[in-house]
């Protein structure tokens, strides 16, 4: 196992493009033995497990248009190369989207946060931020021969964008709305997520719920949302719907049943606090 890891590292060729079109061309040309890299923290784990036998790495770090944070009255725009630590500490984000900077405190260990990027978290399709971004209605600007703006949900589900580079995330500010985000681990100190659950109570009385965990692509919980919005919702029924809908899987350390129960419980507690029947 270790031999494979080292061999992979010894033979890897690193490319450092300065522009999106150059990076994309390299990714197309070198496919399938190529991988885009920004903070490389997830790649580190894959190397360690011997599951990343890619021959080429295309570093995105030199692409300036993937940097920068800006806000408008309605949105926050975050460059894909922004580190998770910056997401947590940046005054603009804190002021305009505090739920997002708060959530950043629960994503990754402190050392990883200084390297890992929001673009990488999203591009991995298993990142802990994704459930929160889903309920916030985030959009992405991806590069695939041209810049394309599309909803995060579409990016996650559509195969067409498999090779696109996530350059920027655009997040509605959700002002005056209650947003919750729970990352469940296996101890008080940081661990990989056993489950992540997020929700947003919209001003129009509707709700958005989403969940995921480290091994699966997060998704919206549409049936549960509908159940909650139906008049006279029943907590037992909604709990059952959540259990049914939560998209979790088992591993040797934790069963899907546990993940579902725990995530359903924290969502239920939030729903009851908002106005249980």
């Amino acid at each position: 196992m270790n031999g494979q890891v080292t061999k992979a590292r010894m033979n890897i060729q690193l490319w450092r493009p300065a522009a999106l079109d150059e990076a994309y061309s390299l990714l197309e040309k070198l496919a399938p033995d190529v991988c885009a890299a920004s903070g490389s923290t997830l790649l580190q784990l894959q190397w360690d497990k011997g599951t990343l036998p890619k021959q080429h790495l295309v570093s995105l770090e030199g692409i300036d248009e993937m940097r920068g944070i800006s806000t408008s009255d309605t949105h926050v725009s975050i460059g894909g190369l922004t580190s998770l630590n910056e997401c947590r500490k940046n005054p603009l984000i804190k002021r305009a989207l505090s739920c997002f900077s708060d959530a950043a405190s629960a994503v990754a260990a402190p050392g990883i946060r200084s390297r890992a990027t929001i673009g990488g978290n999203i591009a991995s399709k298993i990142g802990d931020f994704i459930p929160l971004l889903l309920v916030l209605g985030a959009e992405l600007i991806v590069y695939q021969k041209e810049l394309i703006r599309l909803p995060l949900g579409a990016w996650l589900s559509e195969e067409d964008f498999r090779t696109a580079i996530v350059t920027r995330v655009i997040i509605p500010r959700a002002e005056g709305e209650r947003v919750f985000y729970h990352k469940l681990g296996r101890r008080q100190a940081f661990t990989g997520a056993a489950a992540v659950a997020a929700g947003r109570f919209l001003k129009d009385g509707s709700i958005r719920l989403a969940a995921g965990h480290a091994d699966i692509t997060p998704r919206r919980l549409l049936d549960s949302e509908a159940k909650w919005m139906a008049p006279g919702w029943d907590p037992h029924e909604l709990y059952k719907t959540l259990i049914h809908e939560l998209p979790f899987s088992s591993d040797v350390f934790m069963s899907a049943a546990y993940r579902k129960k725990a995530a359903a419980n924290v969502i239920m507690a939030e729903l009851m606090a908002e106005g249980g029947e």
């Binding site: 196992m1 270790n2 031999g3 494979q4 080292t6 061999k7 010894m10 784990l45 360690d48 469940l184 296996r186 101890r187 008080q188 100190a189 940081f190 661990t191 990989g192 907590p235 037992h236 909604l238 709990y239 040797v252 350390f253 934790m254 069963s255 049943a257 546990y258 129960k261 725990a262 419980n265 924290v266 239920m268 507690a269 009851m272 249980g276």
Partner: protein, 745 residues
């Protein structure tokens, strides 16, 4: 903690916190090669063939070794040498070594391992003691699959149960815990001109490593030098040989220094772990809470090889009734070979497992009897002059009652605030008794040396190892207190067989205790020599001189008469002592003589939504004689408690079909600082009148009682009993859900 002595900065503190201090794994030598060990691909298999030709031909490879290169006994093991250094024809766990490579770089060595062709024939994996004990199970060793049996009985348990009003039986399951030292196993072997070698690698007993390596290399022990301190943690895990034989074999074959430093994955795969155990306890009591009968069965999964497995089981059997006197008792233990890694020595040494089972069992029994759990303990607690747990004589001690009384008064147990939304709090307490030293019938020699160096330093030399526990601080403190000199006058030499006397192992809570004993023996003759020389030098009467800072001083005026440096100019001066750890006079194998006692009170918070258990507050009461080094004492208790917290709430080196499920610390979890609360500590320093045995070690006593205290607190919070560790969030959540504590379940 109220201890009547000032806190001091430990001698190795600055070097450790600044990173200046060099560990053995930091060392480099000119021409040094890097070694890697090929471990088994299977948990159980025959080796059909091993071909190393391709690896040997690889550019940059300087040596490849297999079992054919072992000149002496191709086995190691502290108690029974049954573990192959390099396997000949069979592998019994995934950490078994088959070959090793030394190369110019670590990367080349790793790549060369992949060129070694091993043909295996897979065998059935004995992945549990139950499977290994089946009548037709394949024998893992010549003598079968039972490593060791241990038995103790007194009185008649059946009669005791008949006389009991309440009888309760339960089975408790304990996990495989990893030591998780920060510095993984590693070091450098350097070949010497005389055909021997110097081994720079952390261990808990340099002379024992030397003995084992001499047996493997078939050379006199004197040709091997072990330099073994400091090391970045051990907790029992580096007591046994690990990388030393491979580094030395490669060094002698290549004629160059060879460094091996295991990655965390290699450490997980090959390193020893705490014994998983299943413990069934049946206990009877009368309606007043007098314990009348106690029947205990222990099954330990010792893995593929022996190491200290027999002694761990003996310790569990000895402590089956803890600090309680029960007239009718029967304890049976069995330690079973399996293909699950290797289990062996680990801080607490079998005490953690049995104490969790015993104390939890008593808490549950007290509930059935309707008696306060601490009152039940008080009714049955041992008295100062009672015999020990194996009905053997021990040093009289009132430690059990002292810690029980102290913890009963803990403010934690009086807390009333319990609920906050979906977070529910509870409290619990437990106590324990822990034998120090190796026990009767086991070679447990100690010793030390005091000398005056040519630089005028009072040099304390011991064969102990600094594995983070603070033995240097303990030695400095004891020498200062007993001799009256200043810290600046002292130099300490440890961890080098070329320089130190034999002191025995740095295990079994014995280091500090044995340093104190040694200095008690050495101080009088050493000071007599110093005074005699000082009297000759100064013309003063020896009776009027006392040792102090910088040198000998006038007894009345305290004026400096002669410096240690001046005395050193007259030539060397030394005193050495050798003695044995105090043992019981009764021939009870493994029975201890000196015991320490610990109690813990805790408050936990249980999350009804997730089953998460969080330790909120913790207080310890420890009775282990006088405190030597205040911070060292606190560090041992708090560190031990953090380790126990991990054992209770999250740590398990899970195995599936003989393979570790978690290879690294992303999935094998240990507590982080967020998991560990501030802790309070009551140190009970009193000893019985006439006790001449001084301070007991505290390396283990803080790591035992906290586990059952947490389990009791969880029950107090949510009414669920735990009989399996680590506490499963999943199982706890199911139990909580069954109670219908939430509106939607």
């Amino acid at each position: 903690m109220i201890i009547n002595k000032p806190s001091r900065v430990r001698p190795d503190g600055r070097g450790k916190v600044t990173g200046e201090l060099k560990y053995m794994t930091d060392l480099s030598f000119p021409g040094m090669l890097y070694g890697k060990v090929l471990r088994s691909a299977y948990p159980h298999a025959e080796i059909v063939s091993v071909c190393t030709i391709k690896a040997e031909k690889m550019e940059g490879v300087q040596a490849v070794v297999t079992h054919k290169d072992v000149p002496g006994l191709n086995r190691f093991g502290i108690v029974i040498p049954d573990q192959p250094v390099l396997c000949e024809d069979r592998v019994r766990y995934v950490g078994d070594a088959i070959a090793a490579v030394a190369a110019e770089t670590e990367e080349i060595a790793e790549a060369a391992l992949e060129l070694i062709q091993v043909e295996y024939k897979e065998l059935e994996v004995m992945d549990s003691p139950e499977k290994a004990l089946r009548p037709n199970a394949q024998r893992l060793h010549e003598d079968g699959n039972i490593l060791h049996r241990a038995f103790f009985s007194n009185g008649d348990v059946e009669e005791g149960f008949q006389a009991s009003d309440t009888v309760f039986e339960e089975t408790y399951e304990l996990p495989r815990q990893m030591h998780t030292y920060m510095e993984t196993e590693g070091g450098v072997a350097v070949p010497e001109d005389d055909g021997g070698f110097t081994m720079y690698a952390g261990t808990q007993h340099g002379y024992k490593d030397r003995f084992q390596l001499a047996r493997i290399f078939d050379i006199p022990e004197e040709k091997i030098r072990i330099v073994s301190s400091p090391m970045g943690g051990s907790f029992g895990g580096k007591d046994e040989l690990n990388i030393q034989p491979y580094a030395a074999l490669l060094a002698l074959k290549s004629g160059r220094p060879v460094k091996i430093h295991q990655t965390r994955k290699e450490s997980v795969r090959s390193g020893i772990k705490r014994h998983p155990m299943k413990i069934t306890i049946k206990t009877g009591a009368d309606h007043s809470g007098n314990l009348l009968a106690h029947d205990v069965k222990i099954v330990a999964d010792t893995g593929a090889y022996a190491t200290l497995g027999p002694a761990v089981l003996d310790f569990s059997v000895e402590h089956a009734a803890g600090p309680y006197r029960i007239p009718n008792i029967r304890t049976e233990g069995i330690s079973v070979f399996t293909n699950n890694g290797v289990a062996g020595e680990f801080r607490g040494f079998g005490g953690n497992q049995i104490t969790f089972a015993l104390e939890t069992h008593l808490d549950r029994l007290s509930g059935m009897l309707g008696i306060d759990p601490l009152e039940l303990r008080r009714k049955n607690i041992r008295k100062p002059h009672d015999l020990g747990p194996l009905e053997h004589r021990i040093a009289p001690t009132d430690g059990a009652a002292q810690v029980l009384n102290a913890i009963s008064k803990s403010p934690i147990l009086k807390k009333t605030s319990r609920n906050c939304g979906y977070l529910q709090r509870g409290t619990g307490a437990a106590i324990t008794m822990h034998g120090g030293g190796l026990g009767f019938g086991r070679m447990d020699a100690a010793g030390g040396r005091l000398s005056l160096s040519s630089e005028g330093k009072i040099t304390a030399s011991f064969g102990f190892e600094e594995c983070g526990q603070g033995i240097l601080a303990a030695i400095e403190q004891i020498v200062m207190e007993e001799l009256g000199c200043a810290a600046e006058d002292i130099s300490i030499v440890i961890g080098d067989t070329a320089k130190v006397p034999k002191s025995g192992s740095s295990t079994a809570s014995r280091g500090t205790s044995m340093v104190w004993h040694a200095i008690q023996r050495l101080k009088k003759p050493f000071l007599a020599q110093l005074k005699k020389r000082a009297a000759e030098w100064s013309g003063c009467s020896a009776e009027n001189l006392i040792p102090g800072a910088a040198g000998l001083r006038d007894k009345n005026t305290k004026a400096l008469v002669v410096t240690y440096k001046e005395l050193a100019e007259k030539g060397p001066l030394a005193e050495e002592t050798a003695f044995d750890f105090p043992t019981t006079p009764d021939p009870v194998v493994g029975g201890h003589f000196l015991y320490s006692f610990g109690a813990a009170a805790v408050e936990v918070e249980v999350d009804l939504l997730t089953g998460d258990v969080k330790l909120i507050d913790c207080e310890h009461a420890i009775a282990a004689g006088p405190v030597v080094s205040p911070q060292g004492y606190r560090g041992q208790i708090e560190g031990g408690a953090a380790m126990a917290l991990g054992y209770t709430l999250m740590e398990e080196a899970k195995m599936t079909d003989g393979r570790y499920a978690a290879e690294n610390l992303d999935h094998y979890l240990i507590p982080g600082i967020k998991d560990v609360p501030d802790m309070k500590l009551i140190a009970i320093e009193d000893l019985m009148k006439g006790d001449v045995y001084g301070p007991r070690g505290v390396g283990e006593i803080g790591t035992i009682a906290i586990t059952p205290a947490i389990v009791k607190a969880v029950h107090d919070a949510v009414g669920c009993w735990i009989n399996k560790l680590p506490i499963s969030r999943e199982e706890l959540l199911e139990a909580i859900d069954r109670k219908g504590l939430k509106q939607w379940t």
